[in-house]
């Protein structure tokens, strides 16, 4: 297949949205960078390296036939588990989560890659069970299949990423044809169990996999000033993020001119709270624009999923799209004070090599399905 045909087949709005998100991300990262480090391009440079590596991998993936991946799905799944086990055994702990492997600051976060790898493996697992996803009994293996990597990620513990796994599982199963009633039932049951566990914990002090301070951090977004320190404790991040976005107004304060950003009131401004940088410096124009770009990205991905020649391709794309959707909703929601604060990056925008690599691999997968799986071309 020559470049000309690729160029004709490729979904241009998808690529355009992706490139614009990347560009916007680099711009606000540069601003965040200036507020944080003496080398005003330190994070930008490293992000560019990650994008370059990710782009090479994505192009390679795009040009390969995704359907060949399905044959290796079992190995991909095993490799995922090995990776997640390795990080538990040999990983480094950063801010309470044992999620890093590698030396110095140049480590990787296996959980980020694991998300995409689980999508690739689970898509094959589901497509081989096509038409047999109607009862709870038939669905149970699927839950177990995702349950193992989910449990390993929970052990780090990385609640945010683990929740991504759950979302991906439900999203892919729904598109794969699983009975909506059973899925809803399982979700309701899960919610019920969590509610019961919390009730028992607060009433009788029963055991929970989370410490009280972790629970506090998850619930404080509901009333950030009530964190026991008048908004200077667990609620600080939510408050400062809201102040940043809220004071941005329609036009924003201008790149490099956000006071919340430049005076360091905003925490984690290059990673978790980079959306607040967009909101403060670029205003509603930039922040809403970014949401629209994600909207285009997701819509086009779903179009690719629909046009895929096989269910495997469809599920791969849906899985990747679900990862992005969950990340955007959680990250932006957290910045706007409507979601609990968890360390979930904003796709293609937050600083972080592993996430960038995983997201670009995902994009490569979508484009591979787009090109190789487009029925209209064959």
């Amino acid at each position: 297949m020559d470049a000309k045909r690729v160029l004709r087949a490729i979904d241009k709005p998808f690529v355009a949205a992706l490139l614009m998100i990347l560009a916007l991300g680099l711009l606000v990262l540069a601003s965040a960078n200036r507020a944080m480090a003496s080398d005003s391009l330190f994070y930008v440079k490293r992000q560019l390296v990650a994008i370059a590596i990710g782009a090479v991998c994505a192009v390679a993936l795009m040009r390969s036939d995704y359907s060949r991946l399905s044959r290796y799905s079992r190995y991909v799944y095993v490799a995922t588990l090995v990776l997640l086990l390795a990080v538990l055994l040999f990983g480094r702990e950063v801010r309470g989560t044992q999620g890093w492997i590698g030396l110095g600051s140049r480590g990787v976060q296996p959980a980020e890659l694991a998300k995409v790898m689980v999508v690739v493996a689970f898509a094959e697992f589901l497509s081989s069970r096509q038409g047999q996803l109607n009862t709870l009994r038939e669905l149970l293996p699927c839950f177990l299949y995702v349950g193992v990597p989910f449990a390993l990620i929970m052990l780090q513990p990385d609640l945010g990423t683990a929740m991504v796994m759950v979302a991906v599982m439900f999203g892919m199963m729904f598109v794969a044809g699983a009975s909506p009633r059973v899925l809803l039932g399982v979700m309701a049951a899960g919610a019920g169990i969590i509610a019961l566990a919390l009730f028992l914990h607060y009433s009788f002090g029963t055991w929970l996999p989370l410490q009280d301070y972790q629970l506090m951090r998850l619930s404080v977004f509901l009333d950030p000033y009530n964190d026991g320190q008048g908004g200077r404790g667990a609620g600080w991040n939510t408050i400062q993020s809201l102040v940043a976005i809220g004071s941005g107004g329609f036009w924003g304060k201008g790149v490099f001119h956000g006071t919340q950003v430049q005076l360091n009131f905003l925490p984690e401004l290059h990673t978790d709270f980079i959306y607040a940088v967009v909101g403060e410096e670029l205003g509603f124009l930039g922040a809403a624009g970014l949401l629209v770009l994600y909207w285009i990205l997701l819509s086009r991905a779903l179009q690719v999923a629909f046009l895929s020649k096989d269910l495997y391709g469809t599920l791969c794309v849906v899985g990747v799209a679900t990862i992005w959707l969950f990340h955007v909703v959680e990250n932006v929601g957290m910045s706007l004070g409507v979601m609990p604060v968890t360390g979930i990056p904003l796709p293609f925008v937050s600083y972080g090599g592993s996430a960038m690599l995983a997201n670009l691999l995902g994009a490569g997968l979508v484009l591979s399905v787009n090109i190789k799986g487009n029925r209209s071309l064959f």
């Binding site: 096509q130 038409g131 999203g171 729904f174 598109v175 794969a176 044809g177 408050i239 400062q240 809201l242 102040v243 940043a244 976005i245 809220g246 004071s247 941005g248 107004g249 329609f250 006071t259 919340q260 005076l263 360091n264 009131f265 909101g279 205003g283 509603f284 922040a287 809403a288 949401l291 994600y294 909207w295 997701l298 819509s299 779903l302 999923a305 629909f306 269910l311 469809t314 849906v318 799209a321 959707l325 955007v328 909703v329 932006v332 929601g333 706007l336 004070g337 409507v338």
Partner: protein, 702 residues
């Protein structure tokens, strides 16, 4: 799976995406549009701090330009960025270094200061002011180990001349809660200093100035990043006093020397003196001093217990440690003694019952009860002679003729017993006794005494009644009781009438300045000035002009006439002439001014006052009082002074008057560098014997 169902499911999935992203968009719009104002404000209060810039307090200068109060730049150590939390190792280290010199500074002390300022921690917390250079060097050497500790230069009040005019200047100190509550909150803050006494207090609003402010943008750690707006501080206005620094210096020096002399010669209790020199035409105070001396610098910073005991002695009054905080020129009351006599003379002449030339014969005591003694048998004396020798007999007779109403009215016209209204705080009114005053005061005393006696009587007869054996004895006791009661009530009526009614001897006492009369030194000076200038009582004042920092006139205190004496000019002249005789040969003040040139003739009056203090020997220990004005022919200045336990007016306060007048009229420069050891004589004229100045010791006690 059929393509149709897949399409349906993907569509549903797409709806979910759309709804979720749309919800985020709505939330974003709410935060950025609806709540924009609230978060805009929050963003500003996050980063913008108002830091006040203290306005330098105005300077105080003497009439001749000597700076008496100014601001000195000192090093002060403070702790910045305390907002972001205290580093306990830094606090410990800082306490260890400062503690070598200031034992009261401990880590807990520093934490306490930070706690006090907990709502304004973006401003540095001042730990200690005015540290010396070696300490600054030590702190700078350890700068790396002391993050957040800053050594800054700031203005502190300073009185370069120390005790010179100290009482008059007053002092400043941190504003207290009461003053802050009463103060204008626009101008005063919790860490401000405020004038607590003297000119610093009276002219507080002029001296204070207006603090400026800086709007500073700070980062999340409270560190200033950039200045947004600066409102410059407006320095306070400067004051120019009416005080002449050279006269003031001579006055204080003379007081100190005189006290040393009197301590050695008469009484070691001679520790207190107060004196003032007025410009008779305007009422301006040219010099004013009270001893023991007052150094306003002592009130800056920590006051040690020895210094505190010097200013505010504890326990009952000890003449050997009288306390230095009081400006005794206007807050201590003294009986005027014979310095009252010119008033008696003027009242008598005004009554028309006497003339200046009329003679009264003194045989050593007055011929009316209670026959108050005179210092000598003066023989036949007219006004001039009586004044010169301070004859008690003559002035009692004059007092009798004028009548107490005449005396009181004259003293009142001359301002005795009421505040002069000088521009200094805490002035006392004094006491001019009147019949009304006597009735009110003594009625209470007499009633209290007889209530006690009645109770005793009742107790006594109740006891006798109980002891009585039979009815007859009881009847006898009851009869006795009735007559005793009647006797007591009769005594009470007599006693009451006697003690609450003005008696002839009250008039006699008043006419020679004894009894309950008590006035401030300033009142005496003011009344003498009124006699000197021909009958105009001017309001004394100490601040001449208020000037902006650049020297422009803000306002000027113009002389203010309080009262024009309603007396016959000839009578006034007769009294002035009589006062001149005091310094002429044969007068009680002759030796003091014998060396003065002919064009500077001095009119004066000596006085001796009973101390009235417990523990003093009555009729043995006296305060010396002295009033004077000069030159006689065209009066310029008036003097009044008291030296406690100075024994005679001429040998105590008179010496002070002589020195300061010598300086004023350039007769002798007391500030000349090669000063001969002090002799208690007029140094200008070698003809005056080098012995105590009152050659014949003309006593003037009654």
């Amino acid at each position: 799976m059929k393509s149709r169902e897949l399409k349906l499911r993907l569509q549903q999935y797409w709806y979910v995406c759309a709804v979720l992203l749309a919800l985020l968009l709505v939330r974003l719009a709410v935060v950025q549009f609806v709540q924009n104002e609230k978060y805009e404000t929050a963003s500003k209060s996050n980063r913008i701090r108002l830091v006040s810039i203290p306005a330098p307090r105005g300077e105080i200068r003497s009439r001749d330009g000597l700076v008496l109060a100014k601001n000195r730049l000192v090093f002060s150590v403070s702790l910045a960025y305390a907002e972001a939390g205290l580093d306990s190792t830094v606090v410990e280290r800082l306490a260890a270094i400062l503690g070598t010199q200031y034992p009261q500074i401990t880590a807990d002390y520093i934490r306490g200061l930070v706690e006090q300022q907990r709502y304004r921690l973006y401003e540095p917390v001042t730990i200690v002011r005015d540290v010396d250079w070696p300490m600054v060097v030590r702190l700078e050497e350890q700068r790396r180990q002391l993050p957040g500790v800053t050594v800054a230069v700031e203005p502190l009040r300073y009185y370069p001349e120390g005790t010179l005019a100290g009482h008059l200047l007053g002092y400043v100190r941190a504003i207290d809660a009461e003053e802050l509550a009463a103060a204008d909150r626009e101008r005063y803050d919790i860490d401000d200093v405020v004038g607590k006494d003297g000119v610093e207090k009276t002219y507080e609003s002029e001296l204070k100035g207006n603090d400026g402010a800086r709007r500073v943008e700070v980062d999340v750690r409270g560190r200033p990043v950039r200045e947004l707006v600066t409102l410059q501080a407006e320095p306070g206005n400067n004051l120019e006093l009416t005080i002449d620094s050279r006269l003031q210096r001579v006055l204080e020096k003379s007081i100190e020397e005189t006290l040393a002399y009197d301590q050695q010669k008469y009484n070691r209790k001679a520790k207190v003196a107060a004196a003032v020199l007025l410009d008779v035409k305007s009422g301006a105070v040219l010099a004013m001093a009270s001893y023991p001396a007052f150094n306003p610098n002592d009130f800056i910073g920590f006051m040690d217990s020895a210094t505190e005991a010097y200013y505010y002695p504890q326990g009952s009054y000890d003449p050997l440690n009288p306390g230095a905080a009081t400006n005794r020129v206007l807050r201590a009351l003294y009986p005027p003694g014979s310095t009252f006599k010119p008033i008696t003379a003027l009242a008598a002449l005004e009554s028309g019952e006497a003339t200046a030339e009329e003679k009264v014969t003194c045989r050593g005591s007055y011929w009316v009860k209670p026959y108050i003694k005179c210092t000598a048998a003066h023989g036949s004396v007219n006004l001039a002679r009586a004044m010169a020798v301070s004859c008690n007999t003559y002035f009692q007779e004059m007092g009798r003729r004028a009548g107490h109403q005449g005396l009181i009215a004259m003293a009142d016209q001359l301002g005795l017993g009421k505040p002069t209204g000088i521009d200094l705080p805490g002035e006392k009114a004094g006491l001019l006794p009147t019949p009304e005053w006597k009735r009110e005061t003594n009625a209470v005393l007499v009633d209290r005494k007889y209530d006690r006696l009645r109770q005793e009587l009742e107790d006594k007869y109740a006891r006798l009644l109980a002891e009585a054996k039979d009815e007859a004895a009881r009847a006898k006791v009851e009869k006795e009781e009735r007559s005793a009661r009647a006797r007591l009530e009769a005594e009470y009526r007599i006693d009451y009438r006697f003690n609450t009614t003005w008696q002839a001897f009250d008039t006699f006492n008043m006419s020679i300045g004894q009894g309950n009369n008590s006035y401030t030194v300033l009142q005496l000076a003011s009344y003498v000035a009124a006699l000197a200038n021909g009958g105009q009582r001017m309001q004394p004042f100490v601040v001449r002009r208020v000037l902006t920092p650049s020297g422009q006139l803000v306002r000027e205190n113009h002389p203010r006439l309080l009262q024009r004496l309603e007396v016959d000019a000839a009578n006034l002249e007769a009294v002035r002439q009589a006062m001149l005789q005091v310094t002429q040969p044969g007068g009680t003040g002759y030796a003091l001014f014998a060396g003065f040139p002919a064009q500077v003739r001095v009119a004066a009056k000596t006085g001796t006052a009973q101390t009235g203090r417990k523990g003093d020997v009555r009729n043995k220990e006296f305060h010396g009082v002295f009033v004077a004005f000069a030159p006689f022919d065209d009066p310029q200045v008036a003097f009044a002074g008291v030296v406690e336990y100075g024994q005679h007016g001429s040998t105590s306060a008179g010496l002070i008057a002589r020195d300061v007048l010598e300086q004023y009229f350039n007769i002798k420069d007391h500030l000349a560098p090669a000063e001969a050891p002090r002799e208690p004589t007029g140094g200008a004229n070698p003809a005056v014997p080098a012995s105590p100045p009152v050659a014949n010791g003309t006593g003037e006690q009654e």
